[in-house]
């Protein structure tokens, strides 16, 4: 019994039927997996007269078609599962998109503007004698407007300003650059003999950091590519601090100006502890949210015991604790 199918010429009915139900595909798959012999054995045990697939009982064809359908469904399910696994694997940060067709490397690559920065850092400066000095710095930046609030004891100083450029550029060859230029100022009142005054300090910063970027590996509890590793190779900082002092003493106004310009240039190698990590909370095509750990010298202490039993402790090192969260947009 033959059918004529334009694309395939004359083929047997069973062959066309098998093709229609996908049996060939199943058989090829069975054979590929090494089940062909088992399949033939099973068929022979069911039908001793069977010695070729062409004489397959119709019942088996139905069974085969069901088998094929099930197998196709299983394969589809397996593919869906694999795809879903890959997508879920892409989700590393708590606010990551559920899936993305772009690799994490592809998503990081590009030019990013820092649209907001928020966080609080507690600093303690230890002195060799006297009580340590502690203060907190609260950073709030959005739409290029900067507000820093310093608090020590009951005193609060607020400085405000603007970023003219605050960006990261990540290149796919593994290099990056970070630029942060801003102007910020603060006023504080002073009392002088016979009068009062105001000190206005305006700071202009230009900052350029270059280096290489990478992801972390997947060792331990953290997921692979959960952190961005930034290794500085160079850093150039220019700070111009203008200090304007205006006083009014006995009705006589006086203004003095002083400018301090500081440039600091450093180059680093891998052995200079110039790597810092940023935890990627969110990484999508258009958004990066990352958290920078500013914890330095969380605790320190020295105890000394001499023959005479004398012991002492000291902590003459500065420490900082806190995190800053940056949001970047392309």
């Amino acid at each position: 019994m033959y059918l004529r199918i334009p694309a395939f010429g004359r083929v047997s009915f069973y062959a066309s039927f098998r093709r229609f139900i996908g049996f060939e595909w199943t058989l090829a798959g069975a054979e590929y997996l090494g089940f062909e012999g088992l399949l033939t054995k099973t068929i022979r045990s069911l039908s001793p007269s069977f010695d070729s697939i062409d004489r397959l009982p119709a019942l088996f064809l139905i069974f085969a078609s069901l088998h094929v359908t099930m197998k196709k469904t299983l394969h589809t399910m397996a593919l869906c599962f694999l795809a879903a696994s890959s997508w879920v694997a892409c989700k590393k940060g708590s606010e990551d998109p559920w899936f993305s067709f772009r690799s994490r490397e592809g998503r990081v690559t590009g030019t990013w503007n820092v649209v907001s920065a928020d966080g609080e850092i507690a600093r303690t400066i230890f002195y060799t004698s006297g009580a340590p000095f502690s203060f907190t710095k609260k950073i709030s930046e959005g739409n290029n407007a900067i507000t820093n609030t310093y608090t020590y004891g009951s005193t609060t100083i607020t400085e405000t300003g603007n970023s003219s450029l605050n960006s990261y550029v990540f290149v796919d060859d593994g290099t990056y650059s970070r630029t942060w230029n801003y102007t910020i100022s603060r006023d504080s009142s002073i009392t002088v003999a016979g009068g009062s005054g105001t000190i206005t300090i305006t700071t202009q910063q230009t900052y350029l950091e270059k280096g290489t970027w990478d992801f972390n590996g997947g060792v331990g509890a953290g997921q692979s590519m959960e952190y961005l590793l930034l290794t500085m190779s160079s850093r150039k900082l220019t700070l111009q601090v203008d200090r304007k002092t205006a006083t009014l003493v006995n009705g006589q106004g006086t203004t003095t100006n002083e400018t301090i310009l500081t440039t600091d240039e450093k180059q680093y190698g891998p052995g200079d502890l110039s790597t810092y990590r940023a935890q990627l909370i969110k990484l999508s095509n258009s958004d990066i949210k990352m958290e920078l750990d500013y914890n330095n010298y969380v605790s320190t202490g020295v105890s000394v015991t001499n023959t005479g039993g004398t012991s002492s402790t000291s902590s003459p090192i500065n420490k900082a604790e806190g995190t800053i969260t940056l949001q970047l947009k392309q």
Binding site: Y14, E24, Y32, E36, F215, V219, G269, G271
Partner: protein, 304 residues
């Protein structure tokens, strides 16, 4: 019809079972019968089939194995993952640290070159310090006895570095003779991880070690000898420090990652220069910092 099937079967044998099976079945011929005929026509068919399977297996295996070789001295292949190869307790086979810092004074004057060269092999180690200023070379060599020196990496990403060494220092050679023996016990703990594969380096070619806790214990016994009698005084100190995650991250190039040998290298390269200019109504003053450049290398060879 059968001839065509045999021809296709033979051709198919070159391209894999799927292709062959599909063609033969498509003809509607009996698979078993065709195979019997093929065996008569081509007795090498089973051999070709096995050979083909082996070739596929070798190709797949070699691709996997080549991808395991990341460092220049890595083994060509390994059946263990890089994480499991790094994980374990390691003893120092050799440890060298060699850095040179050149300081150019901003105010002019002689350039100062300082070199620290530390080499350790087994229990013997020495720190050689050399200082060259204006053509004059000075320095000293401190012999060190290494009592133990180990690294321990686990698959959870924890790392522990322990070193215990003793240094003898002659404080006074003329009577009264005073010799101080200091034993230093250092324990650093933190975490380790590989780097990703962004840019030129291969994925997992480098590793980061970040120490978050360091404890240093110093125990010194000073023996003073005079007129046949001796007196011993002791002192000890413990210095504990904890660090933030970003404070002490070192990047090592894994030159070799084998089951029983791990070779790590770190390049030291740093330079610094700066200036400060103060301007006021009375004039402008510029202060330049000394320019410093450091170069060097750390090479750690570990054995299990």
């Amino acid at each position: 019809m059968l001839g065509q099937a045999i021809a296709k079967e033979n051709r198919g044998a070159c391209f894999g079972k799927m292709y062959r099976s599909k063609n033969v079945d498509f003809q509607g011929n009996a698979t078993a019968a065709v195979k019997k005929t093929i065996l008569v026509a081509n007795p090498n068919y089973p051999l070709m089939k096995k050979l083909f399977s082996m070739l596929i297996a070798v190709a797949v295996l070699s691709v996997t194995m080549v991808s395991c070789k990341k460092g220049p001295d890595d083994p060509s292949f390994s059946f263990r993952s890089r994480t499991s190869r790094v994980s374990g307790d390691w003893a120092i086979n050799s440890f060298t640290y060699d850095t040179t810092t050149v300081t150019t004074p901003a105010t002019g004057g002689n350039t100062k070159t300082e070199r620290y060269n530390y080499s350790e092999s087994g229990t013997s180690a020495a720190l050689v310090y050399t200082r060259i200023v204006g053509g004059n070379t000075t320095g000293n060599t401190t012999p060190i006895t290494v009592n133990s020196h180990t690294y321990s990496f686990d698959s959870d990403g924890n790392v522990t570095h322990k070193v215990n060494y003793t240094v003898k220092d002659t404080l006074n050679s003329a009577p009264p003779q005073a010799i101080a023996t200091t034993t230093v016990d250092v324990v650093e703990t933190g975490n380790w991880n590989f780097t990703g594969g962004v840019g030129d380096p291969a994925d997992m070619e480098f590793m980061n070690i970040s120490y978050t806790s360091v404890t240093e214990k110093y125990s010194t016994a000073t023996v003073t000898t005079f007129g046949g009698s001796s007196q011993t005084s002791t002192s000890s100190s413990i210095d504990t420090r904890t660090y933030g995650l970003n404070q002490r991250v070192s990047t090592f190039h894994i030159l070799r990652c084998a089951n029983d040998e791990l070779i790590l290298e770190m390049t030291v390269k740093a330079s610094r220069s700066g200036s400060s200019t103060t301007g006021s109504a009375t004039g402008t003053t510029t202060v330049n910092e000394d320019s410093k450049t450091s170069t060097g290398n750390v090479l750690i060879k570990l054995k299990q």
